[in-house]
């Protein structure tokens, strides 16, 4: 075939769709260095490429780029660092927020605990005032003749119970607690509650009712912090109950 006759075949040749005979004709022309055929082939390649662009646009997944580049041994280092940096920033922020949240939670728990302690202190003071304000309350003192503390008062009330106010009572020590005892006349000590002392003293209340007429002594010993059924040490406070 002449060059003119071949001109209709170049697009199909470039697509690899010619029958063997036609393909061989074009191959022969191209091998001979036929300039006209080379130009027609270039034109056919260009038209084919233009037709390839007319397909509906489909957006590939963003990760495909990484996969393609990884396939030829290329890694997107810049963006990888950016991603790692962003992830690290997110992690740091998350940790910071977590610490902040934990601190806030702890502060809230502390505040609640303080509120509970303040309320308990208020209740005890209210109870103590009730003792002091009631004309039926009978006082008893202890340690007045001692050179060193503790000193203080015991207030007895048949309905309210026993109020102990001790000044300068040192802390009981690690693993220890003060335990109050009510000792009937001629009887055995009965446990009347555990308490701790701050450096400025202590207030302890045994809620009534209580038979004050038979009571002989109110005493305090140092005991294990879980308390004891009977005193295990010498009393550091012993307040004789005056005859009522």
């Amino acid at each position: 075939m002449s060059c003119e006759e071949l001109q209709d075949f170049f697009e199909l040749y470039a697509l690899g769709l010619l029958e063997d005979e036609e393909k061989q004709e074009i191959d022969a022309h191209l091998r001979r260095g036929c300039d006209a055929c080379r130009k027609r082939l270039a034109g056919a390649e260009a038209m084919n490429a233009t037709l390839f662009t007319l397909v509906p646009d489909v957006r590939p997944r963003a990760r495909l780029k990484h996969r393609v580049l990884h396939g030829v041994g290329v890694e997107l280092v810049g963006w990888g660092w950016a991603g790692a940096l962003a992830a690290a920033c997110v992690l740091v922020i998350a940790l910071w927020l977590s610490v902040q949240e934990r601190d806030r939670t702890n502060e809230l728990a502390d505040a609640r605990m303080q509120l509970i302690q303040v309320n308990a202190e208020r209740d005890r003071l209210t109870q103590a005032l009730a003792f002091l304000a009631d004309p039926q309350t009978k006082p008893a003192s202890f340690g007045q003749d001692n050179q060193a503390p503790p000193r203080g008062y015991v207030f007895l009330h048949s309905r309210l119970g026993v109020l102990l106010i001790a000044s300068n009572l040192p802390p009981a020590g690690a693993g220890k607690a003060y335990e109050m005892w009510v000792i009937p006349k001629g009887g055995s000590p009965r446990p009347a509650g555990l308490f701790q002392s701050a450096n400025n003293g202590a207030i302890h209340i045994l809620n009534g009712p209580l038979d004050t007429s038979t009571l002989g002594v109110v005493a305090v010993t140092v005991e294990p912090e879980a308390g004891s059924r009977a005193p295990t040490s010498q009393p550091i406070i012993a307040a004789p109950v005056p005859g009522i």
Binding site: A42, L69, V72
Partner: protein, 205 residues
């Protein structure tokens, strides 16, 4: 169309655009040959989406298209050393490789023309793209070709679709369409002529 000095400005603009486009292609090919990793990312940015669209049009399956786009760019990466940046245009070559990978897959699935794989391989030789114009992928050409496609008869359009996107030879088209081979050849020849002439007119205009 362009009165007076506007002719000069239009021609100068066209020349400048062509020079810049050629320089950009040439620079990219040079960096690809030098194994510049950023150049490969740039190549994907320029042709990845259209190549994926083309492959998807042929295979109609996203997962397969992703495999084939990876194969396409691997081939380009491995063969770019023989591409002549002064004589060939990168885009048409990349799209041809993409289309051929898709057609080769289609043929392997259909169990037809295994020997055609070698032929497709040969047709991806960068030397065959010497002399292909940089403007092959220009939007204006695509627009004109799209209009020209609308002028084709349904039969002409069918044979173009079968050739470009299904990789059927004229004999295979005749079997598929249940038409005489001569008829299919006439449809194909006349369709390609219409498209070719439309582009020729565009070049003159």
């Amino acid at each position: 169309m362009f009165p007076g000095k506007l002719w000069v400005i239009a021609v100068a603009g066209w020349l400048l655009a062509a020079i810049l486009r050629t320089a950009a292609d040439s620079d990219l090919i040079g960096r690809l040959k030098a194994r510049d990793h950023k150049a490969m990312a740039e190549l994907y940015d320029r042709f990845g989406r259209i190549a994926f669209s083309l492959i998807f049009r042929v295979v109609r399956n996203s997962a397969v298209a992703e495999d084939l786009i990876q194969e396409t760019f691997l081939r380009v990466w491995n063969r770019v050393h023989s591409f002549d940046p002064q004589r060939g245009a990168l885009g048409p070559w990349v799209l041809t490789v993409a289309r051929n990978r898709a057609i080769d897959y289609l043929r392997s699935v259909d169990g037809r023309m295994r020997s055609g794989a070698l032929e497709l391989d040969r047709l991806e030789d960068p030397a065959l793209f010497n002399g292909v114009e940089d403007s092959a992928l220009a939007a204006d050409r695509a627009r004109r070709l799209k209009i020209a496609l609308e002028k084709l008869s349904p039969n002409q359009k069918a044979v173009i679709e079968l050739a470009y996107y299904e990789g059927l030879s004229q004999t295979e088209m005749a079997e598929k369409l249940n038409q005489p081979l001569g008829t299919v050849k006439t449809w194909t020849r006349s369709a390609l002529k219409i498209l070719r002439e439309e582009l020729a007119e565009a070049a003159i205009a």
